[in-house]
């Protein structure tokens, strides 16, 4: 079966990855893609735990959810601070750290 659960996870994962790469403008969309990455991974973990009949995957999934929540809050906080200083959140202009 082509559309099994792993392929769903992989599709979601790569969509979110490409969303991070190809997005040049908006940092909010990048954060959202990051959340989607976490979601796809935790989905994969839950599915594997069912598939393998093991509880560890679900525990990891729960932990990842909390980490993702904390991380997104910190990320949004940084975003706010950044916006306060620069008055925009365009990714293209975030190139002050050139080599």
């Amino acid at each position: 079966m082509f559309l099994n659960s792993f392929s769903v996870f992989l599709t979601l994962f790569f969509i979110s990855l490409l969303g991070m790469f190809l997005n040049q403008k908006n940092i909010l969309i990048m954060l959202m893609s990051l959340e989607m990455l976490f979601l796809s991974i935790s989905f994969n973990l839950i599915y594997s735990s069912f598939y393998l009949d093991d509880i560890a995957g679900q525990i990891f999934s729960l932990l990842i959810l909390t980490v993702a929540a904390a991380e997104s809050s910190i990320g949004l906080a940084i975003l706010v601070v950044y916006y306060r200083v620069r008055h925009n959140i365009t990714v293209e202009f975030m190139n002050l750290m050139k080599g």
């Binding site: 790469f21 190809l22 293209e92 975030m94 190139n95 080599g99």
Partner: protein
């Protein structure tokens, strides 16, 4: 006494060189003349003990090099060859020292000059007394160095600097030959260079061959070839003779020392010393004959058209050395040594009287601006006439005894049907050289002393006869050049004399000394007739009003060619010197040293690192998305490393990335 004769000149040189400023003119001249006088007296005593009484002295002082089986020590060998050379070197050196007291008395660097003269003598004595080849090489190089210092004595003159450099560098080519000979001898005799050991063992190694690219080379021929190269360089034979006429830039006593007794005779001495080796290679003997004969002829021919009084005598030296060398090539080493012995006296006499002439007429060297000096300098004239007559081989003067017998030996090769065709060549070239020798000697006498004067009336007032000291030294030399040939004839050439059995080896098949004594009388007269003919021609051209020269004006380009020394210097410069200099600048300096090696070394590497680092810097754009891209690509490769490593595609990817890397 034996070591003192060598080290007294060194003492003189050191004391004059380092402390000359405090010793002063009189102290310096006293020390140097005293040292050389003692050295000369000791060498007479050594001559008496070694040569006349037949006690060969061998002094082994201390070790120089000990490494595995190489064992070379400082040892001094006094045999007949050494002592006769000692006698010449110390005597001529003493005479030159005394002469330069007067000649150089107005020079501010008199102490330096005498110091150089003494160090020259010291090195020459080391050269002739050494018991092994390496020590001989020490003296050999030292003589070259001292000649550089002496020719360059007036170091503010550009011509002197260039002549000295030329002398040193051209000599160095010959020195390379001696060095190769040393290395080959070290190889074949496994670590010894002592003459006593080598010469005993040489017959055993006659059949040794060295195989090079499937060619078999005779070992002893190879060694003799390199020794002959050395002799060609030092004795100014054809090919490497160009330094000798230029060496006239030094003061006249230097020319007398270099050309009469010491430096140029070192090459002949080397050949005579190595007679037990060279005798085993008939091919190299023929080569020696060829070189010597052409040198004798060429130099005598060139000497005719020179106008510088010193250069005429320099070319006559070159010519006489050619005689000695081809006589060695015909295996009659003792005759060669005898000619060397006599030649030292009359050549020193010629040079020093030429110096006296030059000194008395305000340092004018061009013979065309002299003339009638017989009225002003009668004593110098008579002394120079004695020197010239001895040089041309006038009967019963010293040149006669040695030069005529050399030509008799060559005549023998023409008379009998002997194997060497080179002997015939040497005969004709030698006789022609004798003709030219007499021609230019008497041309010199006529132009300098007998013809009408070519100086201004004012300048004739200042002509003065040289001082008593000069006349004394010249007279001593004149007495020697008259009597030495007669006195030493039996010692060098006596029939069945056993002087040379221990030092000179002549392959019995090559020994024709006895036959030369019983040559046809007509052939014996031949050299003298040619000499007389040369004298008559010189007289005809100079004394008569018969303008012979007008009839041969068509040959002027030819005379020009000879006056310019056959364009040897020109051709050498065009063929060797300038191409080598350009090669050194363009190829080895600009393309290799500063080009390729710099590019692959420090210069190119720094540029490469700069490029790579610039590329890596450009990678960091500051854009977060690029960083995420790198992150994931590298994560992909790391995670899949083991999977990809088993497939060839990974290598292709690496090559792809490296290609991109280079393009950027």
């Amino acid at each position: 006494m034996y070591l003192l004769v060598i080290f007294l000149p060194l003492f003189s040189s050191i004391s004059l060189g380092f402390f000359g400023r405090w010793i002063g003119f009189y102290g310096g001249s006293f020390i140097s003349v005293l040292c050389l006088l003692l050295s000369f007296i000791f060498s007479i005593l050594i001559f008496f003990e070694v040569s006349l009484n037949g006690h060969i002295v061998y002094l082994n002082t201390f070790n120089w090099i000990i490494s595995d089986n190489i064992n070379i020590s400082w040892n001094f060998l006094f045999d007949n060859l050494t002592t006769s050379m000692l006698l010449i070197v110390t005597f001529i050196s003493l005479i030159v020292h005394i002469y330069s007291l007067d000649y150089m008395k107005l020079d501010p660097h008199f102490q330096r000059f005498n110091s150089f003269l003494s160090i020259f003598t010291f090195f020459m004595l080391i050269l002739v007394t050494s018991g092994n080849l390496l020590q001989l090489f020490f003296g050999w190089e030292g003589v070259g160095l001292a000649s550089y210092l002496l020719i360059n004595f007036w170091f503010t003159r550009l011509a002197a600097n260039k002549a000295a450099l030329k002398a040193l560098i051209v000599n160095r080519i010959g020195d390379l030959g001696v060095l190769f000979a040393i290395l080959l001898l070290l190889q074949i005799f496994e670590g010894t260079l002592d003459f006593s050991t080598i010469f005993v063992l040489i017959p055993l190694s006659n059949s040794y061959l060295i195989t090079l690219f499937s060619y078999d080379l005779h070992y002893l021929s190879l060694i003799s070839f390199f020794l002959i190269i050395g002799a060609i360089g030092k004795s100014a034979q054809l090919g490497l003779h160009t330094w000798l006429p230029d060496a006239m830039e030094g003061p006249t006593p230097v020319s007398a020392l270099i050309h009469a007794a010491t430096m140029v005779t070192a090459g002949v001495f080397l050949i005579i010393r190595f007679s037990p080796l060279i005798e085993f290679s008939s091919f190299m003997l023929n080569f020696l004959t060829l070189i010597g004969a052409f040198t004798a002829f060429f130099a005598a021919f060139t000497g005719i058209f020179q106008h510088d009084i010193k250069k005429v005598i320099a070319y006559s030296t070159c010519s006489q050395l050619g005689y000695m060398i081809f006589c060695c090539g015909l295996s009659h080493y003792n005759i060669s040594l005898f000619h060397l012995f006599n030649h030292a006296f009359f050549k020193a006499l010629l040079f020093l009287s030429a110096g006296s002439v030059i000194h008395s007429i305000n340092d004018e060297q061009d013979m065309r601006r002299m003339g009638s000096l017989i009225l002003f300098l009668p004593i110098t004239y008579s002394l120079m006439l004695i020197g010239s007559l001895a040089l041309t081989g006038f009967p019963f003067l010293s040149g006669f005894y040695s030069k005529d017998i050399i030509l008799e030996i060559t005549n023998l090769f023409r008379n009998h049907n002997l194997p060497s065709i080179f002997g015939i060549l040497a005969c004709w070239l030698g006789i022609l050289a004798a003709f030219f020798t007499s021609f230019y000697s008497f041309r010199l006498i006529y132009l300098t002393f007998l013809n009408n004067i070519n100086k201004t009336r004012i300048s004739t007032k200042t002509i003065f006869e040289s001082s008593g000291l000069t006349i004394l030294t010249l007279s001593l030399l004149a007495i020697c050049s008259i009597f030495v040939g007669y006195l030493f004839k039996e010692f060098f050439l006596g029939l069945g004399i056993d002087c040379w059995i221990n030092t000179i080896f002549i392959w019995p098949e090559n020994y024709f000394f006895l036959e030369s004594e019983f040559l046809d009388t007509g052939l014996k007269w031949l050299p003298f007739i040619f000499t007389l003919f040369g004298f008559c021609l010189a007289t005809l051209l100079n004394l008569s009003t018969f303008k012979f020269i007008n009839f041969i004006r068509f040959a002027n380009p030819f005379f020009f060619l000879i006056n310019k020394k056959w364009f040897f210097d020109f051709i050498f410069n065009k063929v060797f010197v300038y191409p080598l200099l350009t090669f050194g600048y363009l190829i080895s300096y600009k393309n290799l040293d500063k080009g390729f090696i710099e590019l692959s070394g420090p210069f190119g590497l720094s540029i490469l690192i700069k490029k790579i680092s610039n590329f890596i810097i450009v990678l960091q754009t500051g854009q977060i998305t690029h960083y995420i891209f790198y992150l994931f690509v590298s994560l992909f490769f790391i995670l899949n490393f083991f999977v990809l490593m088993t497939t060839n595609i990974f290598n292709l990817i690496i090559i792809f990335f490296m290609a991109i890397f280079y393009i950027i």
